[in-house]
């Protein structure tokens, strides 16, 4: 391969002569005149860098680099309703300084050469120059645009060793000329389309619109810029160019023979235009502007007319193809255009994780699924046509950098945390530096109001509980180093079992070391291959995992939809059925209708397993949970709960009949094959139980706090119900908005839990606010003031919370 060097580099086209620059390549889009327009009109305040590349002292290639602020959030359509408020909180959200190799304002090669054989060495030298240039400029990313698929593999071989990764670029629409004249083109259309096309061209007769093709249009530049801004501002698709009046004026100055404008005038006023470039082989439809207030805007299809007239001009001028550009594909497909996907290569200046995160984000966001087709040039014998899934899979696989048969291929592919970090939204594993009081200390030492703990009664910092844990460590040491079945049972564990048995109003109980494990141990033991398990769809993950581990047959019913449950029961006669439900659903703070379940149980004769983790200590006369609250504890076959919430410790328990407990104690793998609860945890749970049993006043305070806070949120304007338990699900309706709002609240010293898919559907993403008995009114008021501010910010930036919260 030839070795090329960057022999000349400048930041203005004035520094290089036309004679030198224009003979260094073949693509007219890179000629000095074209580049001058972009530079002189100062669009987007680009920082330019023009390169000439030499091979043994002969100039053989040229490259167009520029640094631009690229707001990648514009490529993600799902953000369109909430981007304004996210930007209010985080003005630089997904906005990066990008050093690009390409053509600003149009699709095409940013690098070309006098002979194809220089292309790859020219790309290598240019990419190396970009890396050092990005260091000097402090650019965040390097981006090489618009690589055609046919060249992908060769480019990849050059660029991947330099740290670039491929990703989807924008699909380009092209219409290839195969007609003698425009009439023939119209005849080639299907009859329905032809009728539409002819109707669209009938502007003068129908609407009195004057249609002209102007090569002298400089005087229209200010009006063109204004109409172009109309389109740009209302664009639903990606758009970042900020064209101005100078841009349109300069094009005529620099490209008198190579540009023209199709204008639509009504009563002497410009109401629409299509600005086009004329290349050596191609006719390029570049910029569109229209007056949306024009009285016939709705009825006269000016865009269709302008694009048809562009086809006509391409044919008249005898060009090989019409370049229709990116986005807004439907009207281009109407013309008969071919859609050709392009690839980008990206690289972060310093961080390979960010390179990968951006490559994956662009690959997922930049293409519109329905618009992607793979051209014949990249089809292979074993893969004659690709759909969008195969296209994405192809690119992700290239980014993975490992074989599909690698056992860790899925690990390579997992990129969500890196993508959130790139967006500045990674919110998991926040670090706190104090116990969980009503406020917690952040790493800067400031007090943060804690509205995101499951320590509902605030006992994990209670002196009685803390003292009991310390005393237990003094007496028993730190761990039990063995199964409860063998050496892992202390007198302390047995005392806890006795107390829990009485507390749960069941004949027997057993302990496990975590709540998650308790459900796994119990369900995997109780469920047999023939058992039919019926689950509420919002049950906790540990319940689903327990069922999966057991391998029984499972069906889910919609959340608290007992009519659907009954229809399943009706057609499941003869199956041994176990119904499993949370009593309090931890994400949304809703309550299972246990009396309704008990009634069905009496009718259909199934077994009932209830996870009371979020209810114990909180509901019921003695704090035994929701079943006690509803007066149906005796009808529940198995009660499960955890010590890690109101009990302020760690571990879990099952309370049930002696037979059931005895079975799980000897068959429940999660119970037997795991070391028992550490003494400190068992002692803390025992001490917490003392307080729970005496704690009706605390429970009352907890419910009062919840009512106070929920009422305060309603008064601000949030749509929510007063929940039956101290968990408030505040729906924001969008995962990215939720994370941005969460971080905003955290900066303002309020901690809530963001809840996201898969825990809830995306439309229910929002906050899970949990109250504690130990919150004082001043802390709640401080938090409410921040929620008020948040509400005003969200609604004043055009996001409809009402819509999100009532959908």
């Amino acid at each position: 391969m030839d070795i090329l060097d960057v022999s000349f580099s400048c930041t203005s086209v004035d520094a290089v002569s036309s004679a030198q620059w224009d003979t260094a390549g073949r693509t007219s889009g890179l000629n000095k005149d074209f580049l001058s327009i972009v530079e002189k009109s100062k669009v987007n305040n680009l920082k330019h860098n023009y390169l000439l590349l030499s091979c043994q002292n002969d100039i053989v290639a040229r490259a167009n680099l520029y640094e631009v602020n690229f707001d990648f959030s514009t490529t993600d359509q799902s953000l369109k309703d909430c981007i304004k408020v996210i930007k209010h909180w985080q003005s630089d959200f997904m906005d990066f300084k990008v050093l690009e190799l390409g053509l600003f304002t149009m699709i095409g090669d940013g690098l070309d050469c006098i002979d194809e054989r220089y292309l790859l060495p020219a790309m290598e030298a240019t990419a190396q120059h970009m890396i050092s240039q990005a260091e000097q400029l402090g650019s965040d990313f390097l981006l090489i645009r618009d690589i055609p698929l046919a060249r992908y593999q060769a480019m990849q071989a050059v660029l991947q060793p330099l740290g670039f990764l491929p990703c989807s670029g924008f699909t380009n629409a092209v219409l290839y000329n195969q007609w003698q004249d425009f009439e023939q083109y119209l005849h080639s259309m299907k009859s329905k389309s032809r009728t539409k096309a002819k109707a669209a061209l009938n502007l003068t007769e129908k609407f009195g619109i004057r249609v002209q093709v102007l090569t002298d249009y400089q005087h229209l530049a200010p009006q063109m810029a204004a109409l172009w801004r109309n389109v740009n501002q209302s664009s639903k698709d990606y758009s970042r160019e900020q064209l101005n009046s100078e841009f349109f004026a300069l094009t005529q100055h620099y490209l008198p023979q190579h540009s023209e404008v199709i204008t639509f005038e009504h009563q002497g006023k410009l109401v629409g235009f299509m600005y086009n470039l004329i290349g050596a082989d191609e006719y390029i439809m570049l910029d569109w502007g229209v007056d949306y207030d024009f009285e016939y805007y709705q009825s006269a299809n000016l865009y269709r007319a302008a694009s048809l007239l562009s086809v006509q001009r391409m044919i008249e001028l005898g060009k090989q193809r019409l370049e229709l550009g990116i986005t807004n594909y439907t009207p281009k497909l109407f013309l008969g255009a071919t859609l050709e996907p392009k690839l980008f290569f990206v690289r972060h200046r310093t961080d390979p994780d960010k390179t990968e995160a951006l490559a994956r984000a662009l690959t997922d966001n930049i293409q519109h699924d329905a618009e992607l087709t793979i051209p014949a040039c990249y089809q292979t014998q074993d893969r004659p046509c690709w759909n969008e899934l195969q296209w994405r899979e192809f690119i992700h696989r290239e980014i993975d950098g490992c074989d599909a048969t690698d056992a860790f291929a899925v690990v390579q592919r997992f990129g969500l945390p890196q993508q959130l970090k790139l967006a500045g939204l990674y919110s998991y594993y926040p670090e706190f530096c104090s116990g969980q009081f009503a406020t917690i200390k952040n790493s800067a030492g400031a007090d943060v109001v804690l509205l995101g703990t499951n320590s509902y009664l605030g006992l994990n910092t209670h002196p009685h509980v803390v003292a009991a844990a310390i005393a237990a460590v003094d007496r028993y040491g730190t761990g039990c180093s063995g199964s409860p079945l063998l050496n892992g049972t202390l007198d302390l564990h047995n005392r806890l079992v006795q107390r829990i048995t009485a507390f749960s109003q069941k004949p027997a109980a057993l302990l496990c070391s975590t709540g998650y494990q308790t459900n796994l141990a119990a369900l995997s033991a109780l469920i047999q291959p023939e058992t039919l398990v019926l689950m509420d769809e919002r049950n906790h993950r540990s319940l689903f995992d327990g069922v999966a581990l057991a391998g029984g047959k499972m069906r889910v019913f919609a959340h608290r939809n007992y009519t659907q449950l009954e229809s399943i029961l009706k057609r499941s006669q003869g199956y041994p059925v176990l119904v499993v439900t949370d009593s309090v659903f931890s994400m949304e703070g809703s309550l299972a209708d246990l009396p309704a379940l008990v009634q069905l149980k009496q009718q259909y004769g199934f077994r009932l397993f209830v996870d009371e983790s979020h209810a114990v200590g909180v509901l019921g006369q003695t704090g035994a949970g929701a079943a006690e609250h509803f007066g149906c504890l005796a009808q529940v076959d198995v009660v499960m709960a955890t010590f890690s919430k109101s009990f302020a410790s760690l571990g879990g328990y099952i309370a049930a009949s002696c037979k059931v407990v005895n079975y799980i104690k000897h068959k429940g793998a999660g119970h037997i094959f795991s070391a028992s609860m550490p003494a400190a945890s068992a002692a803390a749970a025992l001490a917490a139980l003392d307080l729970i049993e005496q704690g009706s006043a605390q429970r009352q305070q907890l419910h009062d706090n919840c009512r106070y806070f929920a009422t305060g949120l309603q008064a601000i304007g949030f749509q929510l119900q007063i929940p039956p338990v101290p968990i408030i699900h505040l729906i924001l309706g969008h995962p990215t908005l939720t994370l941005a709002a969460y971080q905003t609240l955290l900066r303002r010293h309020v901690y809530v839990n963001p809840i996201m898919p898969p825990a809830v559907p995306a439309s229910e993403a929002g906050f899970r606010i949990s109250l504690m008995a130990s919150h004082r009114q001043t802390e709640l008021d401080q938090a409410l003031a921040e929620f008020d501010r948040l509400y005003q910010e969200i609604t004043s930036h055009g996001y409809s919370l009402t819509l999100a919260q009532t959908e």
Binding site: H368, D369, A370, L389, E537, F544, K553, M554, R555, V556, F557, A558, Q564, S567, I568, R571, S572, P758, P761, A762
Partner: protein, 80 residues
């Protein structure tokens, strides 16, 4: 209404990604329509409600497209 049409109706009520797609018999449940194991189980329950049948679990792992679901429902209803 055919079985496939009924199934597509149920999918429109439950799928994660339905925008931008015309759901057809060839639509892929996981890759295109965004079903995960839980969503798929919800769909199975709805199918069983709609067609009043119990689908054998051993078939669930083989479901990839809407057409597979339709074939399964046809097979199960034929057995009744």
């Amino acid at each position: 209404m055919t079985i496939t049409e009924k199934i597509i109706g149920l999918i429109q009520r439950t799928a994660k990604h339905t925008q931008g797609y015309a759901i057809t018999a060839q639509s892929e449940l996981v890759n295109q329509l965004g079903y995960d194991s839980l969503k798929l189980m919800q769909l199975i329950t709805l199918l069983e409600d709609e067609f009043d049948l119990m689908i054998d679990d051993i078939h669930i792992g083989e479901l990839r497209t809407v057409a597979h679901l339709a074939a399964l429902v046809e097979e199960e209803t034929a057995c009744v």
